[in-house]
Symmetry: none
C-alpha cells in the first residue's frame, strides 16, 4: 500500500549515501590519527557536527564503523589499481603499474595503512581480515596473467601464487615498515627498489635485460 500513498517524510537515498561517506571519511582520519581504542565516537560526531546517535544510525557499533572504514580503504585501493592498469597493454608493464599503483595508493593515503594496522592489532581474531577478503576477491586475474607470461617465456616458471605471495608480502611489509618509522625515501625510489629486486627475481633472463624499461622515470 505504501506504493500508492506514500506518506510521511520521504527518505533521500542519495543524501543517506553522502552522509555515510562523510562519516567514513572523517572516521578514517580520526581512527588513523588516534588509533581505534583512543578514538571516541563522540569525537567523530562532534567533528562532523552530528549527534552521537546519528553515527549509530549509520553504524550500529563502533567496531562496525571502524571495519567499514577499512573496507572503504580497500575499495579505494582496488579502484586505484584498476584505473592505473586499465589502459596498459603489455602484461609485464601492467604488473609494474599495479605494483606502482599499490604503493602509490598507500603513499597518498597513509591513513589507510594505519587502518590496516589497527585492524590487525585490535581484531586479530577476525576470521577474514578486510585486506584478505579484498586480496582474495581481486587476485585471480593476476594469477592468470602471470601464467600467461610464464607460458610466453617472459617470466620464470614457478607457481603463480608464490610470486603474488612474495609480492604481497613485500608490499605489505614495505607499507608497514615504511610507516613504522616515518618515511625514509621517496615514493619513486621505493617503487624502483621493489621492482628492481622483485623483477630481477621473477623475470626470465631475456626480460631481465629490459628491467630498466619498467622502472619509474625520475621526475626532474
Amino acid at each position: 500500500m505504501e506504493t500508492l500513498t506514500k506518506r510521511g517524510r520521504p527518505k533521500n537515498e542519495e543524501l543517506l549515501a553522502l552522509r555515510r561517506e562523510d562519516i567514513l571519511a572523517f572516521a578514517t582520519e580520526k581512527f588513523s590519527q588516534y588509533g581505534y581504542q583512543r578514538t571516541d565516537v563522540q569525537l567523530i560526531a562532534d567533528g562532523l557536527g552530528l549527534g552521537k546517535g546519528t553515527i549509530y544510525r549509520y553504524f550500529s557499533t563502533k567496531e562496525e564503523l571502524f571495519l567499514a572504514t577499512v573496507d572503504r580503504g580497500m575499495v579505494g585501493l582496488n579502484a586505484c589499481i584498476t584505473a592505473a592498469t586499465a589502459s596498459i597493454e603489455d602484461p609485464v608493464n601492467r604488473i609494474a603499474m599495479a605494483l606502482s599503483a599499490f604503493l602509490g595508493y598507500f603513499d597518498e593515503h597513509p591513513e589507510v595503512v594505519e587502518l590496516l594496522i589497527q585492524e590487525r592489532a585490535e581484531f586479530r581474531d577476525r576470521e577474514n581480515p578486510t585486506f584478505r577478503l579484498h586480496r582474495e576477491k581481486n587476485i585471480g586475474p593476476w594469477h592468470t596473467l602471470l601464467e600467461e607470461l610464464m607460458a610466453a617465456g617472459r617470466v620464470r616458471t614457478m607457481p603463480a601464487d608464490i610470486i603474488t605471495g612474495v609480492i604481497s608480502d613485500t608490499l605489505y611489509g614495505k607499507i608497514f615498515t615504511t610507516y613504522f618509522g616515518g618515511k625514509r625515501r621517496t615514493f619513486q625510489s621505493q617503487v624502483n627498489e621493489v621492482l628492481t629486486v622483485i623483477f630481477a627475481g621473477i623475470l626470465s633472463d631475456d626480460e631481465r635485460g629490459k628491467l630498466s624499461d619498467y622502472l619509474l622515470e625520475s621526475q626532474e
Copy 2:
C-alpha cells in the same frame, strides 16, 4: 645480580626467583594473547600468583611493562641470529642463515610478532619503536659484509642499505602477513621462497647459479 653479593641462605628462594624475567615471560604471553589494551595488569599478577602492587614495583606503568616485553623479544631475536651465524664461514651462507634464523625465531615465537604489532598500533607516536632501535644497533656488520661481497663480485653492486631495506621489509612483511591470516606454509618453504626471490635479485650472475646451495634442505 644477586649471585655476587648473596651470602648465606636467602629466606625464600622461591619468591626471589620470581622476578623481572618471570613477569616479562608471562606478560609476553598475555599481551600477545589478548592484545595490549585487553590485558589487565591484574590478569598478569593473578597468573603469576603475585599481587598487582608487586608488578608495579618492577615496572612503574603498564606501558613500561609492555615495552619491556617487546625489548626482551628483540634481544631474543638478536641472540638467535648471532648463535645461528656464529660458526658460518661463507658470507653468503651467513646471510642465508641470518634470514633463516630471523624467520625461524618468529616461527618459534609468534607471540613476539604480536608484540611488535601491538607496539605499532598502540604506541605509534613513539619516536623509536623497539624493533627499529634494535635494527639500528645490529645492522652495521651486515652492511659491511654486503659491501665486501660486492667488492668480491659475488653480489650485484648497489647501495647496501637498499638490500638490507628490502630484506627487512620482506621479512617483516612476511611475519606480519603470515600471522595476519594464519600460517599457510611451512617454515622451510617460506625461507626458501624468500631466499629464491631475494638472492636471485641480489646475487651476481655467477652466484645465482649456485642458489640451490643456500636453500634449506627438505627434512624428509
Copy 3:
C-alpha cells in the same frame, strides 16, 4: 465519534481504523511483555506498522501512553464485573460473582496484572494510581450492598470498608503472587479458595451453612 459526522466514503478506512484502541492494545501487550522501561516506543510503532511520530500524535509521552494502557485495563475489569453481576438477583451471589469475575478477568488478562505492577514500580509517586482511581469510582454500590446484607442478618455486622478492604487486599495479593511465581492452580480452585475463607469470615452463621452454594462447580 466519527460515526456521527462522517459523510461519504472516508479515504482510507484501513488507516482510520488504526487508532487509539489499536495502539493501546498493542502497547499493553508489549509493556506487559517487556516491562515499561524495556519497551521502546519504536518497538510499538514497528509492530503496528506505524511511524514513531504517529504514536506521539496520539499520546504525547511514553508515560501517557503507558498510563492509558493501565486505564484501559481497569475499564475492562469494570465492564467485566458489571456484565457478570448484572443479572444476578441474590446479593450474596452477586458478591461471589463479582469476586469470581474479578479473578476471572485477571486470569484471562494476565497482561493487565503486569501493567498494574509496572505502574506501581515505575510511577510510585503518582498521587492516584490508576487502580485506586477506579476502585474509588466503583466501590460505592458494593458498600451499600454489604450494609443491606448486614441489616438483613446475612453478613456479620462490621464496617463495610473493612470487608471490601480485606477482599481487595486478598484479590490483589492473589493476582500479584499468582503471577509472581507462575500459575500454580486453576482459576476455579483459586476462586473457591478465596470464597471459602472470606465468606466463612464475613457471612453470618446461618449463611455460612450454605457456603457451598456460592462456590464454582467443577466443570467436569
Copy 4:
C-alpha cells in the same frame, strides 16, 4: 605457602563484612526511594563516601547489588518472625504472632516492600524470586504446625498449603496494596482485621469463640 609467611596487607574479614552491610543498608534506602532503574550506582557510592569502583568490588553488577538488598530484607523478615514466635507456647498464638510479626516487619521496614515490588517489576523473569526462595525455605514448620492443629481439632481440616497460601496471598496483598496508596490504617488494626477474617475462616467452631484472645490489644 601463604600460611607460613603471610605477606602484604592482610585483609580484614570483619571490616569487609561491615562494609558490605553498610553498602546494602544504604542501597536498600536508595533503591526503595527511587526505584531500581532510577538509582544510579554513582548515587550510592557518593552517599557512602566511596568510589564507584569500590561498590563494584563488593557486587559485580548493579543487579547483583539490588538482589542482595532484597535477600537482606528477607533474611531480616525471617529473623523477626523467628524472634517473635520463639517463646510462644500455644500453636494458635504462634501463628497469630507470626502474622503479626510479618506485618510488623513490613510496617517498620516499608523500604523492603519497595524492594519486593521492584524485583517483581524489573526481574520478572527470574526463575526464583527472592521472596519465594525464602518462603519455600521457611514454610515447612508452619505446615507441620497447622497439621497438628487440625489433628487436635483446633483448626478446620483442609490442606495446609491452602491455608498458608491464602495467608501468604493476603499478607503480600496487604503489604502491596497498603503501600500502593499510602498507609490508611494503623498497624494494630491491620493485624486485627487480617486475624479476624482469616482466623474466622480457618479455626474450628470451638476456637472461633476465642478469637478475640488472639487479637492485639489496643495500646491506649
